[in-house]
Amino acid sequence: MEKRLIKKDALADIIAKIAGDILVYAPVKEEDNVLFKVLKPGGKPLTRYANTKNAPKNFFFPHSEKMMSFTRTDKGMVFSGQAGKSPEAVLFGARPCDARSFVLLDMLFDQDKYKDTFYIEKRAATTIIALNCVHPPYSTCFCTSVGGSPTSSEGVDVAVTETGDGCLVEFLSPKGEKLLKYFGDVKAGDAEEALRKEIGQQAVQEIKSHIPAAEIKPILDVNFEHPCWATIHQKCLACGTCTFLCPTCHCFDISDETKGADGVRIRNWDSCMFPMFTMETSGHNPRPTQKERWRQRTMHKFKYYVDNFSAIACVGCGRCVMYCPVNIDIRKIVTDISRL
């Protein structure tokens, strides 16, 4: 594994240089928010920020994505073209929790039998440079409770760790090593790696939020009908913010749009929090109230995903906790369930 040392101040310039050559997604400041955006060629990303408001899943699984186009003929609407090829890209500045979300999404979108080509192609064309959390940024961070850590390398191609004045840059995959040329030639050694490990251990200590996420699966297995579900959802507004900001939520809708003789089929993020999500044409809805929808969200993350992929579908980023307009806290829900 290749390792390089760079000066801390040089990081933004290096990313700007990469953005001069290929597409780069990176955190930028926009009004009061830090958001992942496409970096303008030569533009500098933020390198000091807590975390972005939006999860980076948008780059592989866009909020709204054209799947194919069609056109009118004498014999009806016919297929006229697939979505274009995915460009080579770099995703810079993903926190380890967000990078790990892609490993979880791969399990779903890249299954043996059914492959979601839209996601897989973009994912394969993108190299992920993660910025390790030397100091976990929020009191709501709980990555260590769901299998991650502030310096987890899961899903990471290049890991950057601030070590005082410098940054240790570790190239963890062949895809990552292709970016080696941008990071100078100061090689890092065992001392820096030891320091990185120490930083990682220290960062784990700084995580203040702990929940028994791994313990509730057997409890959920037998409590589908428990009265607790009647209370969890009560203040929910069904706004869908939690699912839209979640790095691992992957539900989508497919719809057609036409203008004149031409049209496109697009997929848009959807949410299990919305009443229409499961509403059938007959009017029957298997999840008729917010109670069933909240049960679905909780079960999907902490039971169904575990049943299907042996992994919890949560990376502990805390976005749903921070941005819920009525302060529903998944950490409290998990903790309460653990005490059933």
Binding site: F70, G76, Y114, D116, T117, T278, M279, T281, M299, H300
Partner: protein
Amino acid sequence: MQNPYVPIPVEVVKITTEVDTKDIKTFRLAFVNKEDETNFSYLPGQFAELSIFGKGESPIGIASSPTQPGYLEFTVQKAGVVTSTLHDMEEGTLMGVRGPLGNSWPIEYLEGKNIVVVGGGFAFTTLRSLTNYMIHEDNRKRFGNITIVYGARTPGLLIYKDELNEWEKRTDINLNVTVDKGDATWKGREGFVPAVCKEVAPSSENAVTVICGPPVMIRFTLPVFFDLGFSKENIITSLEMRMKCGIGKCGRCNVGSKYVCKDGPVFTLAELDKLTKEY
């Protein structure tokens, strides 16, 4: 890598209005490209997304049998945007099909057993596929006795009437067609499906029943089969849910950990007992 969302082009070659209310039609779709037909290898019980560009997609059970090469058939009730557009279509129109999707009736398990097919109303489509598959001359000897109980509210609501008449003539099917209430011309049986099942009383020995119908029919038919000695492993049905992708990605048709589109739609009663009752 094949894109699973791109539909296969097909042409509507024949439209049959099945019922006197005219809101259920069978659409025969022929593949535009010969190689697509070869690749579309399916078994009775599977479904496909009927794809109408500009309107969307609808998951519908395949009503034809793989023993009928050259085309696919889907029997569709006019209900929403896609199915209404379909009902307005004329022969010769081009559209798309995405599939085959889902599991199928468990053909291997059914082999060598006596089969009891129970259908109600318009939910007879994949049962018709199964029946035509089993009674095909290449397959008939692979299955034991075949008993069919099929009912509709009125004679005019029975689907596949011509085929039912053909089946009636065969000696290797015990066909029992019933209507809740007959009319002036109806000479056949009257009575609800559960009552007819009780009357026909198929033996549970080495037998499997496959049941599709409205929930109320299923609710009253199941006890009849329990009384006849059928185990939950040998009562098989097919579920429906709202679907979009059909391949277990879009996240809406799960019942517990199982996706109806990918792990179903066919489940035994024993399997359904292990799932949550969220459908």
